[in-house]
């Protein structure tokens, strides 16, 4: 016990554990928990039946399917291509690398409405890309997918980059020296080491995509039962001055996202432990 304490003191960089813990809790409380609890409180002005009716209306159910489904697919696609992109950016020298590296951040910086309008202009039937496609993209669920891929990409790339940088060539070299094929090195050495960060990137991209409104709203077409996202259902409720109904849907979204993120975190922790045992 005493030794533990000594260890803790030695390892702590910031002075005053109690002070910093208090600060952390206060900050989290003010910035994150206070607005969220306001949403929960507003929901409690509904009775149970009103709550269930609000969050299980057919259009709202259809919107969950679209929002969570497309967000998952978009995050998965970003996970694959984000990994490739991050790998190339770290491991290869080529002219314009710095530029490409900076471009990755653009979806972070661009106002989402601008992104939405630009994507719609490109993918509309008379747009620069849309006119060559045999199928419709803008104003369909496919358009939602395009927008969500766009805004989610930097999350995967930026979480993977530092990990790949730290990976070092020696692991791959040892693996090769021990007689591993290239694909064996990749699947048994490189990917397991990247997995935790990879999943974090995926989770971030997913969480962002679920809540995204600005960029999606222009390209989705917003047809009831087909291409309405859940955040739009919340706005629809607000337009009717139905604050309680709006927050009810928001609470369902929050809980669903929280459970999914928690599961992803647990999965990550489990994998880390397993890796630790193997090592």
């Amino acid at each position: 016990m005493r030794r533990n304490n000594v260890l803790l003191r030695q390892h702590s960089v910031l002075p005053g554990f109690n002070l910093t813990l208090g600060l952390v809790l206060l900050y989290l409380g003010l910035v994150v928990l206070l607005p969220l609890s306001a949403a929960f409180l507003k929901t409690f002005t509904l009775d149970w039946k009103g709550f269930v009716d609000a969050v299980t209306a057919p259009r709202v159910l259809a919107s969950y399917k679209l929002s969570f489904g497309v967000a998952l697919i978009a995050a998965a696609v970003n996970a694959v291509f984000g990994l490739v992109l991050a790998w190339v950016l770290v491991r290869y020298e080529f002219p314009g690398r710095k530029l490409v590296d900076a471009i990755v951040d653009l979806p972070f910086a661009l106002p989402t409405a601008v992104a939405g309008i630009a994507l719609t202009a490109l993918y509309a039937e008379n747009g620069a890309i849309g006119r060559f496609l045999p199928f419709k993209v803008a104003f369909t669920p496919l358009g939602v997918f395009v927008a969500l891929v766009f805004i989610g990409l930097p999350f995967v790339v930026r979480t993977l980059q530092p990990v790949i940088e730290n990976l070092g060539h020696d692991l791959e070299e040892s693996s090769a020296l021990l007689g591993a094929q290239r694909w064996q090195t990749l699947t048994f050495v490189v990917l397991p080491a990247l997995l935790p960060a990879w999943i974090t990137g995926f989770a971030l991209a997913f969480a962002r995509a679920v809540g995204e409104y600005g960029s999606v709203i222009f390209i989705a077409g917003n047809m009831p039962m087909v291409s309405e996202i859940t955040p739009l259902m919340i706005v629809t409720k607000l337009e009717q001055y139905d604050y309680a109904g709006a927050t009810a849907i928001a609470v369902v979204m929050l809980l669903a996202s929280f459970v999914l993120l928690l599961l992803i975190n647990l999965l990550q922790a489990w994998m880390r432990r397993r890796q630790g045992q193997q090592a």
């Binding site: 309008i117 739009l232 629809t236 009717q240």
Partner: protein, 330 residues
Amino acid sequence: MRKSLLAAAGLLLTFSVMAKDVNLLNVSYDPTRELYVDVNKAFAAQWKAKTGDTVNIRQSHGGSGKQARSVIDGLEADVVTLALAYDIDEISAKANLLPANWQKRLPHNSSPYTSTIVFLVRKGNPKGVKDWDDLIKPGISVITPNPKTSGGARWNYLAAWGYALKKTGSEAKAKDFIAALFKNVPVLDSGARGATVTFTERGVGDVLLAWENEAYLALQELGPDKFQIVTPPLSILAEPPVAVVDKNVDRKGTRAVAQAYLEFLYTPQAQEIAAKNHYRPRDPAILAKHANEFAAVKLFTLEELFGSWANAQNTHFKDGGVFDQIYAPK
């Protein structure tokens, strides 16, 4: 010399005591941006001449419903000038900032200028759209924003409903008409400007349902060589209302100037400005002057068909209302 200096100083002093700077905040909806730039300039000049005070009018624009919610949540609007009475009703009901009978306090349902719903079609009117019945024909694609999220779109919807009801005399048939109409709508943008962009820039649709003033603005901005306006023989009288927000002006001490500002909207000078911005003026003399710009159209009022905005809202746009029933899975 000294005396005159003193006198000048004295005059300056009294002047600065008397002449005040007054700030007004007008919370409005999207397409009135250009209208109120002109109105504010004219009113400020008139107020300065009358009282010596300088009045600075700040404008806030956005979707009508969103603007109303901002006022409910505490945005200190002295006056609200919104797209539909229902939004001001809610400011009264939810935040109690003005009395429920606010619409009776100014002439003409508190709407100093009006508009109507017209069709914007592509140049030459290739699909030959003339009347509401043409909108439900197969193969016609109609662009209108979502009435659940856009105040302007609610006027579009009610105009179509009113036409069908007047023609058939039956609510059931009117509902069939609306269902057939929305079957021809491929995109439901969340706001009126979004729908205009979808139609004009993205090239989607044959007809855009729009406020007359918005249609003129689109024509002006994007070129009369690309689009033209078709005014149906029958449409709705769209009345965007204005109101002083009592609790806010009383706290800020701006009631007199806020009231004068809204009354100014009814003067020939402001009516002329409204007409120039493609809103139909209430003043018959000014309207007659601009008769060639505003096509003759038979207009019905919202009250005549629906009783009140609250009624229209509850029957048609509430969750589970007629609009939702159109899209309910069968």
